[in-house]
């Protein structure tokens, strides 16, 4: 039994932690939160690029460092802990995942080195307003090599250089298309969200030139949709690590406050009402962490259980983070609900991560669907 990260992976996590603590504490997220014009922290992102982080999981033949999913998981946890306002997730968990799994060799050779060197920030555009796209509910069309339609919300839409877009082709089959966002036929618009520390926007296409990703190996007649599902499953695991990092930060903050804050002549953390609440948060966090490890294992080993493990990891992480973030405010009392206190930053992030790649109800459906496939 070796259900843990290796010493090398743990030291990469420490390194990530130290960098973020020194260069990207919560004051950085706060600057982006306070300033509507800033969609991310450009300077922190540049430093990360210089450290090679943009290409951490890109194979060496495409100019990256060539580390694997497990390394990405431990870094994701720290990104979540410090609420890093950078396009790490959009570029690495979504954009690169789509290319690595679905792009032709030529396309990988062309695009991935640009990601690794920080020349290109990527994202994935799939949502189209209210609801979540189903196979039969995709409005954006890919016809004659061009995209038409509207996608919103899209993470990092205002700063991304390229996007992978979910569309339907001339045969009415879902496909993922790669698109350069710096063209006239793409209109961007900024959107306000509950979590302004991570920018979101809308992308409208008026015949924008794009290229379909067609090389997904697991694919059959429906490879575009399967590729999209594969990317979502990878992202679910990686976002789960961001979520458990955030949930851990909330528990640590609430615990520290409960030890130091006195009321009725004693630390509030000596009251069982607070103890039991924080014990519940701890239990939720540990279950989520354990399920996230399961997801990481499935992702890293290419296990058949990935759709099951990813859905379990995602639902667990959503539940743990949202619970930890809301109870963190509760433990802090009135001060916890001020703009000055950091509690609301986590609350906002916990909600936006709970929504970005589909909410818990959607992923619970996947859990049961996969169990049915396994058992019935």
């Amino acid at each position: 039994m070796n259900f843990d990260f290796s010493d090398d992976q743990k030291s990469l996590q420490d390194e990530t932690h130290r960098f973020l603590r020194d260069r990207c504490d919560l004051s950085v997220a706060r600057i982006v939160l306070d300033d509507q014009q800033q969609a991310y922290s450009e300077s922190v992102w540049q430093e990360m690029v210089e450290l090679g982080w943009a290409g951490i999981a890109i194979p060496e033949q495409y100019g990256g460092i060539g580390l694997g999913y497990l390394e990405l998981c431990v870094m994701a946890e720290e990104m979540g802990r410090f609420l890093a306002p950078v396009p790490f997730s959009s570029t690495l968990y979504l954009f690169c995942e789509a290319l690595l799994n679905g792009a032709s060799e030529t396309l990988k050779q062309e695009i991935l080195p640009q990601v690794a060197t920080g020349k290109l920030v990527g994202t994935m555009a799939f949502a189209e307003g209210f609801g979540f796209p189903g196979r039969d509910r995709i409005g954006v069309r890919f016809e004659g090599g061009k995209l038409y339609g509207d996608k919103w919300p899209v993470a990092d839409a205002m700063i991304a250089d390229a996007a992978v877009v979910l569309a339907v082709n001339e045969d009415n089959e879902p496909c993922l298309c790669l698109l350069d966002l710096d063209q006239e036929a793409v209109h961007r618009r900024q959107l306000e969200s509950v979590d302004p520390s991570r920018g979101q926007g809308g992308l409208e296409f008026f015949g924008a030139e794009a290229e379909s990703l067609t090389a997904f190996e697991g694919g059959s007649d429906n490879s575009g949709w399967q590729l999209f599902q594969r990317v979502l499953n990878s992202a679910a695991v990686l976002f789960a690590f961001e979520q458990i990092g955030g949930a851990d930060a909330c528990l640590a903050a609430a615990t520290e406050f409960a030890r130091e804050r006195y009321a009725f002549g004693r630390p509030v953390g000596s009251f069982q009402a607070i103890k039991h609440k924080l014990a519940d948060v701890y239990v939720g966090n540990q279950l989520a962490r354990s399920n996230a490890y399961y997801g990481a294992w499935a992702l890293a080993t290419g296990a058949e259980e990935l759709p099951l493990a990813a859905s379990v990891a995602r639902v667990s992480a959503i539940q743990a983070y949202e619970y930890a973030a809301s109870e963190n405010i509760q433990v802090h009392g009135g001060m916890g609900f001020t703009w000055e206190a950091d509690c609301h930053l986590y609350l906002r992030r916990s909600r936006s991560l709970a929504l970005l790649i589909g909410s818990s109800g959607l992923w619970k459906k996947q859990v049961t669907r996969e169990l049915e496939r396994k058992f019935v």
């Binding site: 070796n2 630390p267 039991h276 239990v283 540990q286 399920n291 294992w297 379990v312």
Partner: protein
Amino acid sequence: MDFDDTPEEAEFRLEVRSWLAEQASAYSLKSFDDLSFERQLSLGREFQARKAERGYAKITWTQELGGMGGTPMQAVIYEQEEEKYNFPTVFFAISLGMPIPVMRRFATEAQQQRYLKPALRGEEVWCQLFSEPSAGSDLGGIRLKAVRDGDDWVLNGQKIWTSYAHISDFGIIVTRTDPAVAKHKGMTFFFVDMKSPGIEVRQIKQAAGGGEFCEVFFSDVRVPDGNRLGEINAGWSVAIATLMEERFAVTDAAGGGAQLEDTMHFLRRELGEGDGGLDDPCVREKIADWYIAESGINNFYARLLTGLSQGQLPGPEAALSKIVIARKLQAQSADIMDFCGPAGAIYPDFQVSRANDYRIAWLEAAGYRIAGGTDEILKNTIAERVLGLPGDIRVDKDIPFEELK
């Protein structure tokens, strides 16, 4: 990252597997419900004797003591493999889980020679006489009195919730020896012969019908001073050492009740297609919830075992498993009853055994949430010993025991 055994662990697992397979035909029954209690117990003793012969009864002990000199990980591997069958081992779980390790730690050399091996072989069963009517979660509140009389101590009072006292030959017991000092400072630990004059055992019929818990009454029971474990009035530290033994014993992921796979087949078979059955979104969401909790506990357990495999003993964080398992058992069993409609309350005979029946599990779960540490006490443990929150203010800490209410 993997779930694999090390080569040494894999080798041991194979050895255990093949031995268990040989025993299965004689000792592992689909259900023991049709056998008399005496027959179950005698089958249990036979199997236990075979286990002890192989050193499997206490894997981590030396061969000299009756073990096999194995690692804690090997002990877990044995349990994992044994659990795949249904051997009658339940009678010895407490006996070998707590009293016997305490005897190993605190009894004299001669006493160990006399008592350890017969217990490992299942010839003698031990119980743990801790809780009292007025001392459950607050074990420090015990009142059963032990008064010195020459070379003996005279015990008077009552114990309760003593598992398998009715079949026990011996018991370890914590008593009040000095009521004039604070509660934790006036307790002394002994072991007693359960056949001593003045001991009366009564089984308690539980809400779910089971009777393995007992009340034990002590009237002028004489216990030689030689049976004392630890110093006079230092019984609290012996009791704590005993409870520590319990720690890893309760963290296993198996929680009884209906298995998910069986349940899904059952719902499909009995409730058919469409609304109300396995296709119903309400049913599907519940199934996802159960599995997410189950997976969380199994994967948490895998992380604990990883530590154990690398030589780290689990800390107080292991307490979380029982909180989650007991609550999940209660909720999941009630959900399955709900899906069945009014028939969910009826006991038609279609489940494999009592242990996997959701109606029985539903009722028993109410007890699991209390036995071996209530949900609330375990949450205190996590809050204080894992998160480092300050202890509760203890109003009885420095007051002589006899002045407490």
